[in-house]
Symmetry: none
Subunit: 299 residues, 2 copies
Protein backbone atom coordinates (compact mmCIF):
# COMPACT_ATOMS: atom_id res chain seq x y z
CA UNK A 1 0.00 0.00 0.00
CA UNK A 2 1.50 3.33 -1.05
CA UNK A 3 2.43 5.76 1.69
CA UNK A 4 0.51 9.02 1.95
CA UNK A 5 1.01 12.02 4.17
CA UNK A 6 -1.07 15.13 4.57
CA UNK A 7 0.34 18.64 4.94
CA UNK A 8 -1.71 21.57 6.29
CA UNK A 9 0.57 24.62 6.10
CA UNK A 10 -0.57 28.09 7.19
CA UNK A 11 0.78 31.17 5.38
CA UNK A 12 0.50 34.80 6.48
CA UNK A 13 -1.48 36.02 3.48
CA UNK A 14 -5.27 35.93 3.20
CA UNK A 15 -5.91 39.01 1.06
CA UNK A 16 -3.69 39.40 -2.01
CA UNK A 17 -4.96 37.01 -4.69
CA UNK A 18 -1.72 36.96 -6.65
CA UNK A 19 0.27 35.89 -3.58
CA UNK A 20 -2.31 33.23 -2.64
CA UNK A 21 -2.28 31.91 -6.22
CA UNK A 22 1.52 31.80 -6.34
CA UNK A 23 1.73 29.77 -3.11
CA UNK A 24 -0.96 27.36 -4.32
CA UNK A 25 0.85 27.03 -7.67
CA UNK A 26 4.04 26.02 -5.83
CA UNK A 27 2.13 23.06 -4.40
CA UNK A 28 0.22 22.24 -7.60
CA UNK A 29 3.53 22.09 -9.50
CA UNK A 30 4.06 18.73 -7.76
CA UNK A 31 0.86 17.17 -9.15
CA UNK A 32 3.00 15.00 -11.44
CA UNK A 33 4.55 13.37 -8.36
CA UNK A 34 1.11 12.61 -6.92
CA UNK A 35 0.52 15.69 -4.77
CA UNK A 36 -3.14 16.75 -4.68
CA UNK A 37 -4.27 20.07 -3.25
CA UNK A 38 -7.51 19.15 -1.43
CA UNK A 39 -8.48 22.40 0.20
CA UNK A 40 -7.55 26.05 0.25
CA UNK A 41 -8.97 28.57 2.71
CA UNK A 42 -7.93 32.22 2.60
CA UNK A 43 -9.30 34.31 5.49
CA UNK A 44 -9.01 38.09 5.04
CA UNK A 45 -9.59 38.86 8.74
CA UNK A 46 -6.96 36.40 9.87
CA UNK A 47 -4.93 37.50 6.79
CA UNK A 48 -3.98 33.88 6.54
CA UNK A 49 -4.05 31.05 4.01
CA UNK A 50 -4.53 27.41 5.03
CA UNK A 51 -3.76 24.76 2.40
CA UNK A 52 -4.42 21.03 2.69
CA UNK A 53 -2.59 18.66 0.39
CA UNK A 54 -1.97 14.94 0.24
CA UNK A 55 0.57 12.75 -1.51
CA UNK A 56 3.63 10.51 -1.27
CA UNK A 57 5.89 11.64 1.62
CA UNK A 58 8.88 12.93 -0.39
CA UNK A 59 6.68 14.77 -2.90
CA UNK A 60 4.65 16.40 -0.12
CA UNK A 61 7.82 17.59 1.59
CA UNK A 62 9.12 19.06 -1.69
CA UNK A 63 5.81 20.84 -2.25
CA UNK A 64 5.88 22.18 1.32
CA UNK A 65 9.42 23.47 0.85
CA UNK A 66 8.59 25.18 -2.45
CA UNK A 67 5.45 26.78 -0.96
CA UNK A 68 7.51 27.98 2.01
CA UNK A 69 10.12 29.52 -0.33
CA UNK A 70 7.43 31.20 -2.42
CA UNK A 71 5.73 32.66 0.68
CA UNK A 72 9.09 33.91 2.01
CA UNK A 73 9.70 35.73 -1.28
CA UNK A 74 6.28 37.41 -1.44
CA UNK A 75 5.32 38.18 2.18
CA UNK A 76 6.90 40.88 4.33
CA UNK A 77 6.11 40.26 7.99
CA UNK A 78 7.03 43.85 8.84
CA UNK A 79 3.83 45.04 7.17
CA UNK A 80 1.60 42.00 7.87
CA UNK A 81 -1.48 42.64 10.00
CA UNK A 82 -4.15 40.08 10.85
CA UNK A 83 -6.25 38.79 13.74
CA UNK A 84 -4.59 35.35 13.93
CA UNK A 85 -1.33 34.83 15.86
CA UNK A 86 1.72 34.35 13.56
CA UNK A 87 5.52 34.57 13.52
CA UNK A 88 6.38 34.12 9.83
CA UNK A 89 5.44 34.13 6.16
CA UNK A 90 5.20 30.35 6.14
CA UNK A 91 3.92 30.34 9.69
CA UNK A 92 3.43 26.68 10.49
CA UNK A 93 3.95 23.50 8.45
CA UNK A 94 2.57 20.31 10.01
CA UNK A 95 3.06 16.88 8.45
CA UNK A 96 0.35 14.33 9.27
CA UNK A 97 0.45 10.55 8.75
CA UNK A 98 -2.41 9.61 6.42
CA UNK A 99 -1.88 6.07 5.12
CA UNK A 100 0.72 3.36 5.79
CA UNK A 101 3.02 5.92 7.44
CA UNK A 102 4.23 5.85 11.04
CA UNK A 103 4.42 9.02 13.12
CA UNK A 104 8.16 8.41 13.48
CA UNK A 105 8.55 8.85 9.73
CA UNK A 106 6.65 12.15 9.78
CA UNK A 107 8.89 13.32 12.62
CA UNK A 108 12.03 12.51 10.62
CA UNK A 109 10.63 14.24 7.52
CA UNK A 110 9.61 17.32 9.52
CA UNK A 111 13.06 17.67 11.07
CA UNK A 112 14.76 17.28 7.69
CA UNK A 113 12.38 19.82 6.16
CA UNK A 114 13.04 22.25 9.02
CA UNK A 115 16.81 21.90 8.64
CA UNK A 116 16.53 22.52 4.89
CA UNK A 117 14.36 25.63 5.33
CA UNK A 118 16.95 27.05 7.73
CA UNK A 119 19.90 26.12 5.50
CA UNK A 120 18.57 27.07 2.08
CA UNK A 121 16.19 29.93 2.93
CA UNK A 122 18.04 31.32 5.96
CA UNK A 123 14.81 31.23 7.99
CA UNK A 124 15.00 30.16 11.67
CA UNK A 125 12.88 27.08 12.34
CA UNK A 126 11.13 25.81 15.49
CA UNK A 127 10.08 22.17 15.74
CA UNK A 128 6.70 21.53 17.37
CA UNK A 129 4.27 18.83 18.55
CA UNK A 130 5.50 15.30 17.86
CA UNK A 131 8.64 16.61 16.12
CA UNK A 132 9.64 18.90 19.02
CA UNK A 133 13.15 18.36 20.38
CA UNK A 134 12.50 20.56 23.42
CA UNK A 135 9.47 19.40 25.41
CA UNK A 136 8.35 22.99 26.03
CA UNK A 137 7.99 23.41 22.25
CA UNK A 138 5.32 20.80 21.75
CA UNK A 139 2.74 23.58 22.01
CA UNK A 140 2.43 25.87 19.00
CA UNK A 141 0.92 28.60 21.17
CA UNK A 142 4.05 28.67 23.34
CA UNK A 143 6.38 28.95 20.33
CA UNK A 144 4.28 31.81 18.91
CA UNK A 145 4.20 33.75 22.22
CA UNK A 146 4.66 37.48 21.51
CA UNK A 147 4.06 36.77 17.82
CA UNK A 148 6.36 38.06 15.06
CA UNK A 149 6.99 41.40 16.73
CA UNK A 150 7.78 39.95 20.15
CA UNK A 151 9.88 37.08 18.87
CA UNK A 152 11.95 39.52 16.75
CA UNK A 153 13.22 41.08 20.00
CA UNK A 154 13.41 37.92 22.10
CA UNK A 155 15.12 35.53 19.69
CA UNK A 156 18.57 37.10 19.98
CA UNK A 157 18.57 37.65 23.74
CA UNK A 158 16.47 34.89 25.31
CA UNK A 159 18.09 31.43 25.14
CA UNK A 160 14.62 29.91 25.61
CA UNK A 161 13.64 31.36 22.23
CA UNK A 162 16.69 30.17 20.24
CA UNK A 163 15.48 28.36 17.12
CA UNK A 164 16.03 24.63 16.65
CA UNK A 165 17.59 25.28 13.25
CA UNK A 166 19.15 28.40 11.77
CA UNK A 167 20.44 31.66 13.15
CA UNK A 168 19.22 33.29 16.41
CA UNK A 169 17.57 36.16 14.52
CA UNK A 170 14.47 36.32 12.35
CA UNK A 171 14.61 36.43 8.56
CA UNK A 172 14.36 40.14 7.66
CA UNK A 173 11.02 39.74 5.87
CA UNK A 174 9.88 36.09 6.27
CA UNK A 175 10.23 35.92 10.07
CA UNK A 176 10.41 32.37 11.41
CA UNK A 177 8.71 29.08 10.54
CA UNK A 178 7.32 26.35 12.79
CA UNK A 179 7.62 22.84 11.34
CA UNK A 180 6.31 19.71 12.94
CA UNK A 181 4.47 16.45 12.85
CA UNK A 182 1.07 15.89 14.40
CA UNK A 183 -1.92 13.61 14.34
CA UNK A 184 -4.92 14.56 12.22
CA UNK A 185 -6.79 17.41 13.85
CA UNK A 186 -10.56 17.37 13.84
CA UNK A 187 -12.38 20.68 14.04
CA UNK A 188 -15.66 19.74 15.70
CA UNK A 189 -18.33 22.14 16.91
CA UNK A 190 -21.45 21.45 18.96
CA UNK A 191 -24.31 23.95 18.83
CA UNK A 192 -26.50 24.33 21.90
CA UNK A 193 -30.11 25.48 22.33
CA UNK A 194 -29.16 28.47 24.45
CA UNK A 195 -28.31 32.10 23.86
CA UNK A 196 -26.25 32.26 27.04
CA UNK A 197 -22.57 32.51 26.14
CA UNK A 198 -21.67 31.66 29.75
CA UNK A 199 -23.13 28.18 29.29
CA UNK A 200 -20.92 27.55 26.25
CA UNK A 201 -17.86 28.90 28.05
CA UNK A 202 -18.48 26.80 31.16
CA UNK A 203 -18.89 23.67 29.06
CA UNK A 204 -15.76 24.48 27.04
CA UNK A 205 -13.85 24.85 30.32
CA UNK A 206 -15.25 21.57 31.59
CA UNK A 207 -14.24 19.55 28.54
CA UNK A 208 -10.88 21.01 27.50
CA UNK A 209 -7.55 19.59 28.57
CA UNK A 210 -6.04 22.90 29.68
CA UNK A 211 -8.55 23.21 32.51
CA UNK A 212 -8.54 19.59 33.58
CA UNK A 213 -10.96 18.11 31.05
CA UNK A 214 -10.40 15.60 28.26
CA UNK A 215 -6.88 15.03 26.92
CA UNK A 216 -6.14 16.33 23.41
CA UNK A 217 -9.23 18.55 23.42
CA UNK A 218 -9.07 22.31 22.97
CA UNK A 219 -12.36 24.18 23.35
CA UNK A 220 -13.84 27.65 23.47
CA UNK A 221 -17.38 28.93 23.87
CA UNK A 222 -18.78 31.14 21.11
CA UNK A 223 -22.04 32.88 20.32
CA UNK A 224 -23.56 32.26 16.86
CA UNK A 225 -24.91 35.78 16.40
CA UNK A 226 -27.13 35.00 13.43
CA UNK A 227 -28.82 31.99 15.02
CA UNK A 228 -29.42 32.82 18.68
CA UNK A 229 -27.42 29.74 19.66
CA UNK A 230 -24.16 29.21 21.45
CA UNK A 231 -21.41 26.86 20.33
CA UNK A 232 -18.69 24.80 21.95
CA UNK A 233 -15.98 24.95 19.28
CA UNK A 234 -13.40 22.18 19.69
CA UNK A 235 -10.15 21.01 18.17
CA UNK A 236 -9.52 17.32 18.77
CA UNK A 237 -5.77 16.89 18.40
CA UNK A 238 -5.65 13.12 18.73
CA UNK A 239 -8.89 11.26 18.08
CA UNK A 240 -7.31 8.01 19.24
CA UNK A 241 -6.83 9.52 22.71
CA UNK A 242 -10.16 11.32 22.91
CA UNK A 243 -12.51 10.07 20.19
CA UNK A 244 -15.05 12.39 18.58
CA UNK A 245 -17.97 10.67 20.29
CA UNK A 246 -16.34 11.00 23.72
CA UNK A 247 -15.96 14.75 23.20
CA UNK A 248 -19.52 14.96 21.87
CA UNK A 249 -20.98 13.01 24.80
CA UNK A 250 -19.01 15.12 27.31
CA UNK A 251 -20.51 18.29 25.82
CA UNK A 252 -23.97 16.74 25.73
CA UNK A 253 -23.69 15.64 29.37
CA UNK A 254 -22.40 19.01 30.56
CA UNK A 255 -25.18 20.73 28.62
CA UNK A 256 -27.82 18.41 30.06
CA UNK A 257 -26.59 19.20 33.59
CA UNK A 258 -27.41 22.80 32.80
CA UNK A 259 -30.78 21.97 31.26
CA UNK A 260 -29.55 22.76 27.75
CA UNK A 261 -30.03 20.54 24.68
CA UNK A 262 -27.70 19.88 21.79
CA UNK A 263 -29.14 21.24 18.53
CA UNK A 264 -26.58 19.81 16.12
CA UNK A 265 -22.88 19.43 15.57
CA UNK A 266 -20.55 20.09 12.64
CA UNK A 267 -17.23 18.88 11.32
CA UNK A 268 -15.16 21.65 9.73
CA UNK A 269 -12.91 20.54 6.86
CA UNK A 270 -11.44 17.08 6.50
CA UNK A 271 -11.92 14.23 8.94
CA UNK A 272 -10.38 10.76 8.90
CA UNK A 273 -13.20 8.32 8.12
CA UNK A 274 -11.63 6.16 10.81
CA UNK A 275 -12.65 8.71 13.46
CA UNK A 276 -16.27 8.64 12.33
CA UNK A 277 -16.17 4.86 12.00
CA UNK A 278 -15.06 4.70 15.65
CA UNK A 279 -18.02 6.88 16.61
CA UNK A 280 -20.40 4.67 14.63
CA UNK A 281 -18.87 1.61 16.30
CA UNK A 282 -19.47 3.19 19.71
CA UNK A 283 -23.13 4.01 19.15
CA UNK A 284 -23.95 0.69 17.51
CA UNK A 285 -21.74 -1.38 19.84
CA UNK A 286 -19.77 -2.73 16.89
CA UNK A 287 -17.06 -5.01 18.22
CA UNK A 288 -13.64 -5.41 16.64
CA UNK A 289 -14.03 -3.00 13.73
CA UNK A 290 -10.64 -2.27 12.12
CA UNK A 291 -9.34 0.47 9.86
CA UNK A 292 -8.62 -2.21 7.27
CA UNK A 293 -12.34 -2.95 7.02
CA UNK A 294 -12.93 0.49 5.49
CA UNK A 295 -13.03 -0.11 1.73
CA UNK A 296 -11.48 3.20 0.75
CA UNK A 297 -8.27 2.59 2.70
CA UNK A 298 -7.39 -0.07 0.08
CA UNK A 299 -7.72 2.09 -3.04
CA UNK B 1 -7.24 5.02 -12.92
CA UNK B 2 -6.77 1.25 -12.75
CA UNK B 3 -9.85 -0.92 -12.65
CA UNK B 4 -10.55 -2.69 -9.38
CA UNK B 5 -13.20 -5.21 -8.50
CA UNK B 6 -13.97 -6.74 -5.17
CA UNK B 7 -14.88 -10.39 -4.65
CA UNK B 8 -16.51 -11.65 -1.44
CA UNK B 9 -16.89 -15.41 -1.77
CA UNK B 10 -18.42 -17.51 1.00
CA UNK B 11 -17.19 -21.06 1.60
CA UNK B 12 -18.80 -23.75 3.74
CA UNK B 13 -15.94 -24.18 6.18
CA UNK B 14 -15.45 -22.16 9.36
CA UNK B 15 -13.81 -24.71 11.64
CA UNK B 16 -10.96 -26.71 10.06
CA UNK B 17 -7.87 -24.49 9.95
CA UNK B 18 -6.11 -26.48 7.25
CA UNK B 19 -9.07 -26.14 4.87
CA UNK B 20 -9.44 -22.43 5.61
CA UNK B 21 -5.71 -21.90 4.99
CA UNK B 22 -5.78 -23.81 1.73
CA UNK B 23 -8.67 -21.73 0.36
CA UNK B 24 -6.97 -18.49 1.38
CA UNK B 25 -3.72 -19.66 -0.20
CA UNK B 26 -5.52 -20.21 -3.52
CA UNK B 27 -6.39 -16.49 -3.51
CA UNK B 28 -3.03 -15.32 -2.21
CA UNK B 29 -1.29 -17.19 -5.04
CA UNK B 30 -2.53 -14.35 -7.29
CA UNK B 31 -0.79 -11.60 -5.33
CA UNK B 32 1.68 -11.20 -8.19
CA UNK B 33 -1.19 -10.15 -10.47
CA UNK B 34 -2.30 -7.50 -7.99
CA UNK B 35 -4.87 -9.46 -5.98
CA UNK B 36 -4.94 -8.46 -2.31
CA UNK B 37 -6.75 -10.55 0.29
CA UNK B 38 -8.24 -7.83 2.50
CA UNK B 39 -10.28 -9.79 4.97
CA UNK B 40 -10.94 -13.31 6.12
CA UNK B 41 -13.57 -14.32 8.62
CA UNK B 42 -14.11 -17.90 9.64
CA UNK B 43 -17.18 -18.38 11.79
CA UNK B 44 -17.41 -21.72 13.61
CA UNK B 45 -21.13 -21.32 14.35
CA UNK B 46 -21.97 -20.55 10.75
CA UNK B 47 -19.27 -23.06 9.79
CA UNK B 48 -18.49 -20.64 7.03
CA UNK B 49 -15.54 -18.67 5.67
CA UNK B 50 -15.98 -15.25 4.10
CA UNK B 51 -13.03 -13.87 2.13
CA UNK B 52 -12.75 -10.40 0.68
CA UNK B 53 -10.25 -9.61 -2.00
CA UNK B 54 -9.61 -6.73 -4.36
CA UNK B 55 -7.68 -6.46 -7.59
CA UNK B 56 -7.71 -6.11 -11.37
CA UNK B 57 -10.83 -7.80 -12.83
CA UNK B 58 -9.20 -10.73 -14.67
CA UNK B 59 -6.88 -11.57 -11.77
CA UNK B 60 -9.76 -11.47 -9.27
CA UNK B 61 -11.78 -13.88 -11.42
CA UNK B 62 -8.83 -16.28 -11.66
CA UNK B 63 -8.37 -16.17 -7.88
CA UNK B 64 -12.10 -16.79 -7.35
CA UNK B 65 -12.01 -19.80 -9.66
CA UNK B 66 -8.97 -21.30 -7.93
CA UNK B 67 -10.51 -20.79 -4.47
CA UNK B 68 -13.74 -22.43 -5.68
CA UNK B 69 -11.80 -25.43 -6.99
CA UNK B 70 -9.85 -25.77 -3.74
CA UNK B 71 -13.05 -25.62 -1.64
CA UNK B 72 -14.72 -28.20 -3.87
CA UNK B 73 -11.79 -30.56 -3.29
CA UNK B 74 -11.73 -30.20 0.51
CA UNK B 75 -15.34 -29.77 1.62
CA UNK B 76 -17.97 -32.51 1.66
CA UNK B 77 -21.43 -31.01 1.88
CA UNK B 78 -22.87 -34.36 2.99
CA UNK B 79 -21.23 -33.93 6.39
CA UNK B 80 -21.31 -30.12 6.63
CA UNK B 81 -23.36 -28.68 9.50
CA UNK B 82 -23.66 -25.01 10.36
CA UNK B 83 -26.20 -22.39 11.32
CA UNK B 84 -25.95 -20.43 8.05
CA UNK B 85 -27.91 -21.47 4.94
CA UNK B 86 -25.74 -22.98 2.20
CA UNK B 87 -25.94 -25.14 -0.90
CA UNK B 88 -22.30 -25.76 -1.73
CA UNK B 89 -18.63 -25.84 -0.78
CA UNK B 90 -18.04 -22.56 -2.61
CA UNK B 91 -21.47 -21.35 -1.67
CA UNK B 92 -21.68 -17.90 -3.25
CA UNK B 93 -19.22 -15.82 -5.30
CA UNK B 94 -20.23 -12.19 -5.87
CA UNK B 95 -18.22 -9.74 -8.00
CA UNK B 96 -18.56 -6.08 -7.00
CA UNK B 97 -17.49 -3.01 -8.97
CA UNK B 98 -14.99 -1.12 -6.79
CA UNK B 99 -13.19 1.44 -8.93
CA UNK B 100 -13.49 2.48 -12.59
CA UNK B 101 -15.56 -0.61 -13.44
CA UNK B 102 -19.13 -0.67 -14.73
CA UNK B 103 -21.67 -3.14 -13.37
CA UNK B 104 -22.10 -4.51 -16.92
CA UNK B 105 -18.47 -5.64 -16.88
CA UNK B 106 -18.96 -7.43 -13.54
CA UNK B 107 -22.04 -9.16 -14.98
CA UNK B 108 -20.09 -10.42 -18.00
CA UNK B 109 -17.23 -11.62 -15.78
CA UNK B 110 -19.63 -13.37 -13.37
CA UNK B 111 -21.38 -15.24 -16.19
CA UNK B 112 -18.06 -16.32 -17.70
CA UNK B 113 -16.83 -17.48 -14.28
CA UNK B 114 -20.05 -19.42 -13.66
CA UNK B 115 -19.81 -21.17 -17.04
CA UNK B 116 -16.20 -22.12 -16.32
CA UNK B 117 -16.98 -23.52 -12.85
CA UNK B 118 -19.71 -25.71 -14.36
CA UNK B 119 -17.52 -26.82 -17.28
CA UNK B 120 -14.23 -27.46 -15.51
CA UNK B 121 -15.36 -28.47 -12.02
CA UNK B 122 -18.66 -30.15 -12.94
CA UNK B 123 -20.48 -28.06 -10.32
CA UNK B 124 -23.96 -26.71 -11.19
CA UNK B 125 -24.03 -22.90 -11.07
CA UNK B 126 -26.85 -20.45 -10.42
CA UNK B 127 -26.51 -16.81 -11.48
CA UNK B 128 -27.88 -14.22 -9.02
CA UNK B 129 -28.51 -10.53 -8.41
CA UNK B 130 -27.38 -8.28 -11.27
CA UNK B 131 -26.00 -11.28 -13.18
CA UNK B 132 -29.25 -13.31 -12.93
CA UNK B 133 -30.68 -14.50 -16.23
CA UNK B 134 -33.97 -15.57 -14.64
CA UNK B 135 -35.63 -12.72 -12.73
CA UNK B 136 -36.70 -15.05 -9.92
CA UNK B 137 -33.02 -15.80 -9.27
CA UNK B 138 -32.00 -12.27 -8.37
CA UNK B 139 -32.54 -13.29 -4.74
CA UNK B 140 -29.89 -15.49 -3.17
CA UNK B 141 -32.38 -16.70 -0.55
CA UNK B 142 -34.66 -18.05 -3.27
CA UNK B 143 -31.82 -19.91 -4.96
CA UNK B 144 -30.78 -21.42 -1.60
CA UNK B 145 -34.30 -22.50 -0.64
CA UNK B 146 -34.17 -25.92 1.05
CA UNK B 147 -30.42 -25.57 1.34
CA UNK B 148 -28.03 -28.28 0.20
CA UNK B 149 -30.20 -31.11 1.41
CA UNK B 150 -33.37 -29.79 -0.16
CA UNK B 151 -31.79 -28.72 -3.42
CA UNK B 152 -30.19 -32.14 -3.80
CA UNK B 153 -33.69 -33.61 -4.14
CA UNK B 154 -35.28 -30.76 -6.07
CA UNK B 155 -32.66 -30.04 -8.70
CA UNK B 156 -33.34 -33.14 -10.78
CA UNK B 157 -37.13 -33.05 -10.60
CA UNK B 158 -38.16 -29.38 -10.40
CA UNK B 159 -37.54 -27.40 -13.62
CA UNK B 160 -37.58 -24.19 -11.55
CA UNK B 161 -34.43 -25.39 -9.81
CA UNK B 162 -32.46 -26.30 -12.94
CA UNK B 163 -29.05 -24.61 -12.77
CA UNK B 164 -28.07 -21.86 -15.21
CA UNK B 165 -24.89 -23.74 -16.06
CA UNK B 166 -23.99 -27.39 -15.65
CA UNK B 167 -25.92 -30.60 -15.04
CA UNK B 168 -29.32 -30.82 -13.25
CA UNK B 169 -27.80 -32.62 -10.28
CA UNK B 170 -25.53 -31.48 -7.47
CA UNK B 171 -21.83 -32.22 -7.39
CA UNK B 172 -21.53 -35.33 -5.15
CA UNK B 173 -19.50 -33.48 -2.50
CA UNK B 174 -19.28 -29.79 -3.49
CA UNK B 175 -23.02 -29.24 -4.03
CA UNK B 176 -23.80 -26.15 -6.12
CA UNK B 177 -22.36 -22.66 -6.42
CA UNK B 178 -24.08 -19.31 -6.81
CA UNK B 179 -22.16 -16.72 -8.86
CA UNK B 180 -23.21 -13.16 -9.46
CA UNK B 181 -22.57 -9.45 -9.60
CA UNK B 182 -23.88 -6.97 -7.07
CA UNK B 183 -23.41 -3.56 -5.49
CA UNK B 184 -21.38 -3.27 -2.25
CA UNK B 185 -23.11 -5.19 0.50
CA UNK B 186 -22.74 -4.57 4.20
CA UNK B 187 -22.88 -7.74 6.30
CA UNK B 188 -24.08 -6.51 9.66
CA UNK B 189 -25.03 -8.71 12.61
CA UNK B 190 -26.62 -7.74 15.89
CA UNK B 191 -26.21 -10.06 18.87
CA UNK B 192 -28.99 -10.17 21.45
CA UNK B 193 -28.97 -11.05 25.13
CA UNK B 194 -31.30 -13.99 24.69
CA UNK B 195 -30.97 -17.67 24.05
CA UNK B 196 -34.39 -17.82 22.42
CA UNK B 197 -33.98 -18.34 18.70
CA UNK B 198 -37.63 -17.37 18.20
CA UNK B 199 -36.85 -13.82 19.33
CA UNK B 200 -34.10 -13.46 16.73
CA UNK B 201 -36.32 -14.95 14.03
CA UNK B 202 -39.24 -12.68 14.89
CA UNK B 203 -37.01 -9.61 14.77
CA UNK B 204 -35.43 -10.71 11.50
CA UNK B 205 -38.93 -11.05 10.06
CA UNK B 206 -39.89 -7.63 11.34
CA UNK B 207 -36.93 -5.81 9.78
CA UNK B 208 -36.37 -7.56 6.46
CA UNK B 209 -37.78 -6.39 3.17
CA UNK B 210 -39.19 -9.77 2.14
CA UNK B 211 -41.71 -9.70 4.97
CA UNK B 212 -42.61 -6.03 4.75
CA UNK B 213 -39.74 -4.48 6.69
CA UNK B 214 -36.95 -2.19 5.55
CA UNK B 215 -36.03 -1.98 1.85
CA UNK B 216 -32.70 -3.54 0.82
CA UNK B 217 -32.44 -5.42 4.10
CA UNK B 218 -32.19 -9.19 4.29
CA UNK B 219 -32.22 -10.76 7.73
CA UNK B 220 -32.27 -14.12 9.45
CA UNK B 221 -32.28 -15.17 13.09
CA UNK B 222 -29.47 -17.43 14.27
CA UNK B 223 -28.35 -19.03 17.50
CA UNK B 224 -24.70 -18.55 18.52
CA UNK B 225 -24.24 -21.95 20.11
CA UNK B 226 -20.98 -21.22 21.89
CA UNK B 227 -22.18 -17.99 23.48
CA UNK B 228 -25.78 -18.60 24.55
CA UNK B 229 -26.85 -15.62 22.46
CA UNK B 230 -29.01 -15.19 19.42
CA UNK B 231 -28.19 -13.05 16.43
CA UNK B 232 -30.05 -11.08 13.81
CA UNK B 233 -27.78 -11.50 10.81
CA UNK B 234 -28.40 -8.87 8.13
CA UNK B 235 -27.26 -8.05 4.65
CA UNK B 236 -27.74 -4.42 3.70
CA UNK B 237 -27.76 -4.43 -0.08
CA UNK B 238 -27.94 -0.66 -0.55
CA UNK B 239 -26.85 1.47 2.41
CA UNK B 240 -28.06 4.63 0.70
CA UNK B 241 -31.61 3.24 0.75
CA UNK B 242 -31.50 1.80 4.27
CA UNK B 243 -28.50 3.11 6.25
CA UNK B 244 -26.70 0.90 8.77
CA UNK B 245 -27.96 2.88 11.74
CA UNK B 246 -31.58 2.62 10.56
CA UNK B 247 -31.26 -1.17 10.41
CA UNK B 248 -29.52 -1.24 13.80
CA UNK B 249 -32.15 0.92 15.48
CA UNK B 250 -34.93 -1.18 13.99
CA UNK B 251 -33.41 -4.31 15.53
CA UNK B 252 -32.83 -2.54 18.86
CA UNK B 253 -36.42 -1.31 18.92
CA UNK B 254 -37.87 -4.71 18.05
CA UNK B 255 -35.66 -6.32 20.69
CA UNK B 256 -36.68 -3.77 23.33
CA UNK B 257 -40.35 -4.50 22.60
CA UNK B 258 -39.59 -8.08 23.57
CA UNK B 259 -37.61 -7.09 26.65
CA UNK B 260 -34.30 -8.12 25.07
CA UNK B 261 -31.12 -6.02 25.00
CA UNK B 262 -28.54 -5.65 22.27
CA UNK B 263 -25.18 -7.09 23.41
CA UNK B 264 -23.08 -5.94 20.47
CA UNK B 265 -23.01 -5.81 16.70
CA UNK B 266 -20.43 -6.68 14.09
CA UNK B 267 -19.52 -5.71 10.56
CA UNK B 268 -18.33 -8.69 8.55
CA UNK B 269 -15.70 -7.85 5.97
CA UNK B 270 -15.39 -4.52 4.24
CA UNK B 271 -17.67 -1.55 4.62
CA UNK B 272 -17.70 1.71 2.66
CA UNK B 273 -16.43 4.38 5.09
CA UNK B 274 -19.26 6.57 3.89
CA UNK B 275 -21.81 4.20 5.45
CA UNK B 276 -20.25 4.45 8.91
CA UNK B 277 -19.76 8.20 8.58
CA UNK B 278 -23.49 8.47 7.93
CA UNK B 279 -24.18 6.51 11.10
CA UNK B 280 -21.83 8.72 13.14
CA UNK B 281 -23.52 11.80 11.68
CA UNK B 282 -26.89 10.43 12.74
CA UNK B 283 -25.92 9.75 16.36
CA UNK B 284 -24.02 13.01 16.85
CA UNK B 285 -26.46 15.15 14.84
CA UNK B 286 -23.68 16.23 12.47
CA UNK B 287 -25.18 18.51 9.85
CA UNK B 288 -24.02 18.78 6.24
CA UNK B 289 -21.24 16.21 6.32
CA UNK B 290 -20.09 15.37 2.77
CA UNK B 291 -18.23 12.42 1.30
CA UNK B 292 -15.47 14.84 0.22
CA UNK B 293 -14.78 15.67 3.88
CA UNK B 294 -13.65 12.09 4.47
CA UNK B 295 -9.89 12.05 4.10
CA UNK B 296 -9.84 8.50 2.75
CA UNK B 297 -11.96 9.36 -0.29
CA UNK B 298 -8.90 11.24 -1.56
CA UNK B 299 -6.54 8.26 -1.29
Amino acid sequence: MDKLIECVPNFSEGRRDEVISAIKAAVEAHAGEGVRLLDSLADPDHNRLVLTFLGPPEAVVEAAFDACRKASELIDMNVHRGSHPRIGAADVIPLVPARAVEMSECIDLARALGARIARELDIPVYLYEEAAVRPERRSLADIRKGQYEGLKEAVAVDPARTPDYGPPRLHPTAGATVVGARWPLIAFNVNLASSDIRVAREIARAVRESSGGLPCVRAIGLRLEDRDLVQVSMNLTNFRVTPVHVAFEAVRREAARRGVEVVESEVVGLVPAEALAAAAAHYMAVKGLTREQLLETHF
